[in-house]
Symmetry: C2
Subunit: 106 residues, 2 copies
């Protein structure tokens, strides 16, 4: 019933690509919003605090997914997104916490 959008395998997650994906205000905001919650969340909920058009939000979700940061599944008309915690922690230990920690927001 719910299919998963294509994403890079664990081994093909690239550090430069990952950093480039995080190096954008909108995408960093999305990631921080996901990080402050637990488990998969509806895309539109996460994107609420962001002030860009729908196509732009869609574009940013794609960049995050193709960088290996998130997993997106299609459920009906909606998209559910979640951070790839285990993969990222195994690949680059401590990176998520360092970048997305609330203290980094100041």
């Amino acid at each position: 019933m719910s299919r998963q959008l294509p994403q890079p395998s664990f081994d093909s997650i690239n550090l430069v690509t990952l950093l480039a994906a995080l190096a954008d205000p909108v995408r960093l905001t999305l990631m921080q919003a996901m990080y402050s919650r637990t488990g998969p969340v509806d895309c539109s909920v996460i994107a609420e605090g962001v002030e860009v058009s729908a196509p732009t939000v869609s574009h940013h979700y794609r960049v995050l997914r193709e960088a290996g940061l998130t997993t997106t599944t299609v459920e009906g008309r909606r998209r559910v997104v979640s951070i790839r915690y285990e993969d990222l922690e195994a690949r680059f230990p401590g990176l998520l916490a360092a970048v997305l920690a609330p203290a980094a927001n100041t």
Copy 2:
């Protein structure tokens, strides 16, 4: 005798700018080369493994410095560069280690 090139203050180090600075193959290579050594090192020594022209190397050093990642001092004809360990660790704990750890190179 040795003057220091301008760099952002501790408070004005921005996470997005910092990530953008790291999200480049050449600059990441430079940072990793600095990270594997202790203390300030000659710019030209660090840039040995990089296959770009001198102006490009100079450009990348500037980006790193203006992002708050490095400190550069002028000593005669040479430039000596070092990572701002203390500042970065205080500002974004664990970030340097997560990004520049040798394990991330694989």
